[in-house]
């Protein structure tokens, strides 16, 4: 994944989230306060603008711009969470011109670590971690089997969506939605869904360039 790839991915993410905005709000309405769609829409738009306003830069710097754009525009619980996610990826990408399959795994892992550092959520708490963690695990397994970058990414996004499905069976312990308790059962988590959308867009826009990576 080159800086150009990420910029393309960021544009795809922004378009995708924009299209899914109302759906994400409905998911958040079921158990939370119904604003996840508008919040993440605002964040991706701002992140992309910051990215496109910035001069050509390294992958790490681009990830950091996107992170700051989200952090300074979203608010809510998901602002710091997503800000930390891309910040973690940026930290892991530091010093690399582009990301190959192994580096991308390290980036995902550090993104997750940053989310947990600030949000303190555990797997099973019914948060975006429940689509991100299985996605990372699927990616890692594929890589271990010797799959190429493209395949790893496809397994990643497939697993993310399975994670989203799984959140329907979970009782929330974090964020506003925890107040719903049992009532949240049967509803997918809004953040887990937006995370799956992001991973899907990253997968579709990173895989083209695997050859020229590292």
């Amino acid at each position: 994944m080159s800086p150009a790839d990420f910029r393309r991915a960021a544009a795809a993410i922004t378009a995708k989230i924009n299209a899914e905005c109302l759906h994400l709000c409905e998911l958040d309405s079921a158990v939370g306060d119904g604003d996840h769609g508008t919040t993440i829409q605002r964040g991706t738009k701002a992140g992309l603008e910051k990215l496109q306003a910035a001069p050509p830069a390294s992958l790490s710097e681009d990830l950091m711009s996107f992170s700051m754009g989200m952090l300074s525009s979203m608010g809510g619980a998901s602002g710091p969470i997503y800000g930390s996610f891309f910040q973690g990826m940026a930290m892991a990408a530091k010093g690399h011109q582009a990301a190959d399959a192994p580096l991308f795994l390290a980036m995902l892992k550090q993104g997750l670590a940053q989310i947990q550092k600030i949000g303190k959520a555990e797997p099973g708490d019914k948060t975006l971690i429940d689509s991100l963690l299985p996605a990372i695990q699927a990616y890692e397994a594929a890589l271990a089997e010797g799959a190429d970058f493209a395949t790893c990414l496809q397994r990643m996004s497939a697993a993310a969506w399975q994670g989203v499905e799984h959140t329907k069976t979970l009782v929330s312990k974090r964020g506003r939605s925890r107040y719903a308790g049992e009532r949240g059962l049967g509803h997918a988590d809004a953040g887990a869904t937006s995370m799956a959308l992001m991973l899907e867009c990253l997968a579709n826009n990173a895989k083209g360039e695997t050859s020229c990576a590292s």
Binding site: L22, C25, E26, S29, V31, G32, D33, G34, D35, G37, T38, T39, R42, L71, S72, S73, M74, G75, G76, A77, S78, G79, P80, I81, I118, G119, R174, G175, R176, S177, Y179, A180, G181, R183
Partner: protein, 332 residues
């Protein structure tokens, strides 16, 4: 949709524009999402920053002024403000005597305010946080630190503001504010749902003739639904839960607050307050002051919340001081 708005993306900033224009004699704009009383920062005074998501007006935006907070940072609808905006607010309140961050205990707010607090401390500003967590329904007393903040807000802000105004030290202001929070308990009932202005979606369903106890300010699910009760019975059930929680006891002196969530008529609030007075008197408590109005709303949600704050002489002294903010005024 039944709401008068312009472009949904501009809602939060435009409402703050209107707020500043309406109150230009006493309030100034510091940044897109940050407003302050004209005199801020005030030399020799502890600074107080309040804030949270928009859509609950007058909370928090309008509680800045004499005997109230110095700066309010107002996020997007139902979304906590961002770390950079909160940092700007802290700088605007800082007069070198320490800055108190006073806001409601929600995950999103804590995440953003904590980031800003860290940044401010790195700049050498003395900052401390007091979380408001008066709402009793979501967690039992032993998990009080997980509870949400709701309608005790303006009472706590006023006591903190009056203490700061009196020249109290940062440590004193923190102690007094924590005491005000500790002695506050709230519980509400919802009678009608509210809609998000950007989407027109209602955050929950509630058929006419039903009511829900403990519904959150953002439509978060409550603890119990039942057929609509009378004003008297509603007051009794809310008070029974609130009084048992602290617990409030015979001989206690309290402030009794009835807050309307949005579509509630003052008529309904007066009926509820009427029963609160007779009920507390039956229990041997005395009411130092009563407050009634819309202080903390959830768009056009219907229903009321009741807040009791137990007073001692110190809290009473600061509560009785003048408050002059656009959202809350009180004259001795």
């Amino acid at each position: 949709m039944r709401k008068l708005i312009n472009h949904p993306d501009d809602l939060a900033v435009e409402l703050i524009d209107g707020f500043v224009l309406t109150n230009s004699k006493k309030v100034k704009r510091v940044a897109r999402h940050v407003c302050a009383r004209r005199e801020a920062p005030i030399a020799g005074k502890v600074g107080i920053v309040i804030g949270g998501g928009a859509g609950h007006e007058p909370l928090f935006l309008e509680f800045i002024g004499r005997g109230m907070a110095d700066v309010s940072v107002h996020g997007q609808i139902f979304a906590a403000p961002t770390p950079d905006a909160i940092l700007t607010a802290i700088q605007a309140a800082d007069a070198g005597q320490g800055v108190l961050l006073l806001y409601n205990n929600y995950a999103g707010d804590v995440l953003n305010f904590d980031m800003a607090q860290e940044l401010a401390r790195m700049q050498g500003i003395e900052v401390e946080t007091v979380l408001i967590n008066d709402e009793i329904s979501a967690f039992p007393p032993e998990r009080a630190e997980e509870r949400r903040g709701t309608t005790a807000d303006h009472l706590v802000i006023h006591i903190a503001g009056a203490a700061a105004e009196s020249g109290a030290s940062f440590a004193e202001v923190l102690r007094i504010t924590r005491k005000a929070v500790f002695n506050s308990r709230s519980l509400g009932v919802s009678t009608a749902p509210c809609t998000l202005p950007e989407t027109g979606l209602s955050t929950f369903d509630l058929p006419a003739g039903r009511m829900e106890f403990g519904m959150g300010l953002h439509g978060e699910a409550g603890i119990r639904q039942c057929a609509l009760l009378s004003a008297d019975a509603t007051a009794e059930q809310l008070l029974a839960a609130i009084v048992a929680d602290l617990p409030f006891r015979a001989g206690d002196e309290v402030i009794a607050l009835v807050n309307g969530y949005g579509a509630t008529t003052r008529m309904e609030m007066f009926l509820v307050m009427r029963r609160i007075h007779s009920w507390l008197t039956e229990q041997g408590m005395s009411i130092h002051a009563s407050e009634l109005g819309e202080f903390c709303t959830a768009q056009e949600m219907g229903g009321v919340s009741v807040t009791l704050m137990r007073l001692d002489d110190e809290l009473k002294k600061f509560y009785d001081a003048t408050a002059d903010s656009p959202g809350y005024r009180s004259l001795p």
